[in-house]
Amino acid sequence: MDTKKLQKSEKAGFAPLSMLYACLVYLFLYLPIAVVIAFSFNTSKTNIIFEGFTFEWYAKMFDNRQLMESFQNTLIVAGVSTVFSLVLGTLCAVGLYKFEFKLKSLVSNSLYIPIAIPEIVFGIAMLVFFSSVHISTGMFTLIVSHITFSMPFVAITVRSRVAGFDRSIEEAAKDLGANEFRTFMRVTLPMIMPGVISGGMLALTMSLDDVVISFFTAGPDSTTLPLKILGMVKKGVSPDVNALSTLMILGTAVIMVISQIAQNRLEQRQGGNNSES
């Protein structure tokens, strides 16, 4: 058997079925999104029948100051709360794996509570809490509440990654003079990165998508996009929401593609250097 054929069959041995499967799942995930995108170009104001093609809604969307403001708010809240819940959640997950202590089961069980409390109760309770300590609603309260409900997702996801972590590798780092912090940064964190990234994505998603809790903890000047959209949906999804969603998806996709290309370039360059030396 010649090399080419072998390499081909080697890749193929694993690929075709699983590739097909992955594509099907992606299809499932993107099916409704495709509809959203399609109807963003619909001339009709309702998402029932595609009547004609137009860019009208995109123009309208940019004119919608409230929509744009709430979009900006959403990005800020999601960004800040994701970073915080990542830091808190990751540290907590690693700590829970590393250390044995009396309150351990309390801490780890309390992680489930924010997920288990119905959103509406949690939202109201949060709001009562804030107003009882005289913190008025606004970005701050919004971010705090988002951190609170997304942190457990980070912690739980990272914990699943940390479980069974090879201790000797951390030991080696400490042995070589790295303190707890440096060991965490240089060894533990890189090794649990897939878990951290997964957790971060979940946190980001939770935050971008939250309506109920945000409703209660947002102030007048901190309305978020989902709140806005929910309101618009109540009166029938108007295509400018579709347009915004489409732009969000396209924007992210473009960023993703660019970063992927940049990364590949970088790798190629490094690879080139390697083979030279």
């Binding site: 606004g138 209660f216 929910l230 309101g231 949906v233």
Partner: protein, 331 residues
């Protein structure tokens, strides 16, 4: 509160239903008065109440609230009296919606718009099924199986059931309310969906023959599909009136009053109706409206029916009973 940002910056925080006042109105208001309007939105009175209750009323200056929560807000000292002198355009408001039971002297509330719960039918489908709707009891027609969309609201549905069985739609008597469950259970088999958000879609896309929906949804469905008609039954409809109220802890009462006055200017009110064609309570504005509004029987509801309609009242603790039968109906 988190109301004003920046010194000298005039801000009015308004807490409003979603999609009720278009941005252009706010823009124009700012242009004319220099007061920036910051709008927050809710999608049910209870949400609004819950938020005010939990977070205090100093978050907002002006709130748009339905008639049946005005009493509650008064009782809880959430709102303050309005200086009607500041609102010259009050004269534009249709007198039939002024001085209602919940606020006889309009001390606390100034009406804004009204909502009517109407029956909309798809003429073609109804003909196909051989159904005509003359009374609520016609909704029980077995031919309508899985062919009705209704609002997802316990009070509205119970009111229909109570009226169909000849009871007081604002009853607070537990036994009476529970009596409505039978009727509702009969209706259940005909219901395809409970949808307060976008029932017009089901109507317009020919998926249901009949809808018990808010008039604005009916109006939109009519725009989409010329087979949709509004029908009035022997029983009266339910209606609610949305009012402007000023929160007790508002720091910008004057701005709020200025805004109420602004909204009831005929041209401004027209702007609103053009964008969100609800039940017009501003007589001056109505005269300015063009045919696309006036001819839509969903938006521009029959005035006689509007007057005949039964105003949804606050039932106090009895709300629990209404919810109970609703829960039972859905289990």
């Amino acid at each position: 509160g988190g109301s004003s940002s920046g010194e000298g910056d005039k801000v009015l925080n308004i807490y409003n239903w979603t999609e009720y006042i278009p941005q252009e109105v706010y823009d124009q208001f700012e242009e004319e008065t220099g007061i920036r309007v910051v709008e927050s939105t809710f999608s049910s009175n209870e949400e609004m109440l819950a938020k005010l209750e939990a977070g205090g009323t100093d978050q907002y200056d002006l709130v748009v609230a339905s008639n049946y929560v005005i009493d509650v807000m008064k009782e809880k000292n959430m709102i303050q009296t309005i200086d009607k002198d500041k609102i010259e355009n009050i004269t534009n408001i249709s007198p039939s919606s002024m001085g209602m039971d919940y606020d006889p002297d309009n001390e606390y509330s100034i009406p804004f718009m009204a909502t009517l719960t109407v029956i909309a039918i798809n003429q073609e489908k109804c003909d196909e099924l051989g159904v005509t709707i003359n009374s609520f009891n016609d909704l029980l027609n077995p031919a309508l199986e899985n062919n009705i969309v209704v609002v997802d609201d316990s009070r509205e549905l119970a009111a229909v059931a109570l009226k169909a069985t000849g009871q007081d739609p604002n009853s607070t008597d537990e036994a009476t309310i529970e009596g409505a469950l039978d009727w509702l259970n009969q209706l259940k088999t005909n219901i395809k969906a409970y949808d307060s958000d976008s029932p017009k879609t089901l109507l317009a896309s020919n998926e249901v023959a009949v809808g018990l929906v808010y008039n604005m949804d009916a109006g939109q469905a009519i725009k989409e599909n010329d087979q949709i008609k509004v029908v009035y039954t022997t029983e009266a409809c339910e209606k609610s009136i949305d009012n402007f109220v000023i929160t007790a802890n508002s720091k910008n009462k004057e701005y709020a009053e200025e805004f109420i006055n602004f909204v009831h200017r005929a041209d401004v009110y027209k702007m609103i109706l053009d964008e969100f064609p609800g039940v017009c309570l501003n007589d001056a504005a109505k005269e300015l409206m063009d045919s696309s509004y006036l001819d839509n029987e969903g938006s521009n509801v029959d005035t006689a029916e509007l007057d005949r309609a039964n105003l949804i009242a606050d039932v106090g603790e009895a709300a629990t009973y209404y919810d109970d039968i609703f829960t039972k109906m859905k289990t």
